[in-house]
Amino acid sequence: MAAAAGAGGAGAGADRPQVVSHVQQALSYTLFDCKWVPRSARLLCLGSAARGTGVLQLYELRAGRLALLREIEKAKPIKCGTFGAASLQQRYLATGDFAGSLNVWNLEAPEIPVYSVKGHKEIINSIDGVGGLGIGEGAPEIVTGSRDGTVKVWDPRQKDTPVANMEPVQGESKRDCWTVAFGNAYNQEERVVCAGYDNGDIKLFDLKTMSLRWETNIKNGVCSVEFDRKDVNMNKLVATSLEGKFHVFDMRTQHPTKGFASVSEKAHKSTIWQVRHLPQNRDIFMTSGGAGSLHLWKYEYPAQRSKKDSEGAEMGVAGSVSLLQNVTLSTQPISSLDWSPDKKGLCVCGAFDQTVRVLIVTKLNKV
């Protein structure tokens, strides 16, 4: 259990948050996603075994090590998963696999999925859930984004057909959808899905009006998008991309032509694979990079969040982002990251060097 060697370690004396590596576990399969099981000290690892089957492993954090509780094997490798649409008692896991199927599993009885649909023709790259876990209001829904260029929203109570489908126009050449995220779910009707594509497109779909609300292009493929909180009036959106850039959009004010104001940062010197906001503080987020590094950022709001432009239309003002800490854990990309919703600062990250690491970020109260 090596202590984290960090370039930012020099700030140890000051009040900066430290990223402490708590547990490391070597796995025998390629890890694609890792998630905390809500209301517990258990975490889930999803991935692909060498023989081309999918693996689900449930670990529990015990006295400085990870104890394997369950191992489940499935026919197809699993790319992504979420607990977002499950109720707190049931905690069903929704997964997307390499064949394009969406399955919802009850981890107590994982042989047969609770809900299953072959939603896409190609791999499901990203999945998100909303309406469950006591967060947000409205129906529980799952959104999946796939390499076939479509983004589909599913309701686990409705079989076989999605409740919303965002697909390219007939004849348009498709671009891979790499990431999806829910947002703006502050009451029962409102909901918004943000999707990022490999050509740099970011599109915001409004599910209440079933329309495209905003789109932009950030030139480099979008690896990850996330709203700072899913269950409030949309406040901030962070989009990370290839070539080490990420953008923070201020989503409170939409200008009719210019869209949302944004600030962008260059970091990591390589692809930024994931961004995750701290559930307990929506202005702190962590980005993970292709060189095995993690950066912890804090967003500061500007003095005035909106101003009037020359024609009197409201436009947003983006704030600034400051780096709190950075640490290099691995030589391989860190492809997945998840904060624990129950313990502030506890997070798990999975890298392509087949290890899952549990980290603790300290001093987040003083930030």
Binding site: Q18, V20, L61, A63, Q89, A139, E167, V169, N199, I360
Partner: protein, 423 residues
């Protein structure tokens, strides 16, 4: 020939010799004085003074004081005693020579030793300095490590506490749920019992077993789920949103693009459009639209379509005179020449078109394929089958899915093999 200095004088004590040497007119520096155990030399061109000393002296401690036109030596004797004279009087020439050389050698050695000694001390000093800095850095690193360790331990303790808390909460909740279940079951039982009393069906046993709460969370979720169902809104009515992706001149994402080449191609096209060579006086009587190369190209195309190849060539010629950087003009003119069987001209025009179609980008793929095919055809009709095959293969490389090109290439290969067999 140096001038020997003879005007020296000396006196001695038991342990030292004092020699004073006047050096008139010139300045003496330390470099001019050379002294070893038995040999003393002062060489200030053009003056020279040397002395083979009577007895060895301690040359490291001996001093020379350089004054105004005079050098005063204080030479400490190695062995105490009185010297009969300063120098060895009856020394033979060879002995003198030998002594001189010896002296020089000795001086060299001494110098070497000194430098060695200096080097060694320098090295020692450096080592010491290095070790000192290393120690300091170690200390600093240790301090940071310790801080980190402390943090880690603190945090691990907190984590364990939190986990225990979680367990407690879970247990409490379980107890609560079971309590609730029990209550609800009791209530149901009561109701059933009332019914039973009215209907007298002896199925209490079965009812009881059904009402027994199943272990785990399944049952409690069943109860609470029923309540929740009423609060959740119905599934959304299905809808589809059609989207377009950001179009680019070249439909590739930044990660796949070959931006430099594409920029070049676009630039070239833009340049080509702007060229208007208007120094041709014969064009004055042409109508405005007839001076537009694009219009002329269209005219040419129309005439080609109707089969009027000569007129098409004329149109293209005029267009080329106006703007000789548009590759399509050459391409179409090549097609006309093919039809007219002006094969050499066809080859020329296709080649010119290919030249203008660099750099090779997906945008001008079609044009390049056509150019290669036309040139290939011309070669074949001239019976230069090898060159023709080359061009067909180039075309196939750009567009491997084109069946006609493949077939034609096959045909040419057969012909070549046929001629080779015959000859």
């Amino acid at each position: 020939m140096p001038v020997w200095l003879r005007g020296h004088s000396w006196r001695q004590s038991g342990s030292a010799v004092f020699l004073s040497l006047p050096v008139p007119g010139v300045r003496v520096t330390a470099a001019n004085i050379f002294c070893t155990e038995r040999y003393l030399k002062v060489s200030v061109p053009p003056f020279l003074f040397e002395a083979i000393l009577y007895a060895p002296i301690d040359d490291t401690n001996s001093t020379a004081k350089i004054g105004n036109g005079i050098v005063f030596f204080t030479l400490y004797k190695k062995e105490v005693g009185m010297w009969e004279s300063l120098t060895l009087e009856n020394a033979s020439k060879e002995k003198l020579q030998y002594l001189r050389e010896n002296a020089v050698l000795k001086a060299h050695e001494k110098a070497k030793e000194e430098t060695e000694a200096k080097k060694v001390t320098k090295r020692e000093h450096k080592k010491y300095a290095l070790e000192a800095t290393m120690k300091l850095e170690e200390a600093e690193r240790k301090r940071i490590e310790e801080l980190k360790e402390q943090e880690k331990q603190k945090v691990t303790k907190e984590l364990e506490l939190w986990k225990d808390q979680l367990k407690d909460v879970e247990n409490q909740r379980k107890v609560q749920k079971e309590g609730q279940l029990h209550e609800e079951v009791e209530q149901l039982k009561e109701k059933k019992k009332e019914k039973m009393n009215k209907t007298n069906i002896p199925s209490e046993e079965t009812l009881k077993t059904r009402l027994k709460p199943t272990k785990g969370r399944g049952s409690c979720s069943m109860f609470s789920e029923n309540l929740k169902e009423e609060q959740l809104p119905a599934p959304r009515s299905s809808g589809t949103i059609k989207i377009n992706f950001t179009s680019r001149v070249f439909p590739t994402a930044l990660r796949e693009s070959r931006v430099a080449e594409e920029e070049e191609w676009l630039h070239k096209q833009a340049e080509a459009r702007r060229i208007i060579s208007d120094d041709l006086s014969e064009l004055k009587d042409l109508k405005e639209e007839e001076k537009n190369p694009d219009w002329l190209k269209d005219k040419g195309n129309k005439m080609f379509a109707t089969g009027n190849y000569l007129a098409a060539v004329n149109a293209y010629n005029l267009a080329v005179r106006l703007n000789n950087k548009l590759p399509l003009l050459y391409l179409n003119r090549a097609a006309c020449h093919l039809k007219l069987r002006n094969l050499h001209k066809a080859i020329e025009d296709s080649s010119k078109a290919l030249e203008l179609l660099t750099p090779p980008v997906p945008d001008n793929e079609n044009a390049r394929v056509k150019a290669y095919v036309r040139r290939g055809t011309a070669f074949c009709q001239l019976e230069l089958y090898a060159e023709g095959l080359q061009d067909y293969e180039a075309a196939l490389k750009i567009d491997p899915k084109n069946k006609t090109i493949e077939k034609d290439a096959e045909k040419i290969r057969h012909v070549i093999q046929g001629t080779m067999q015959n000859s």
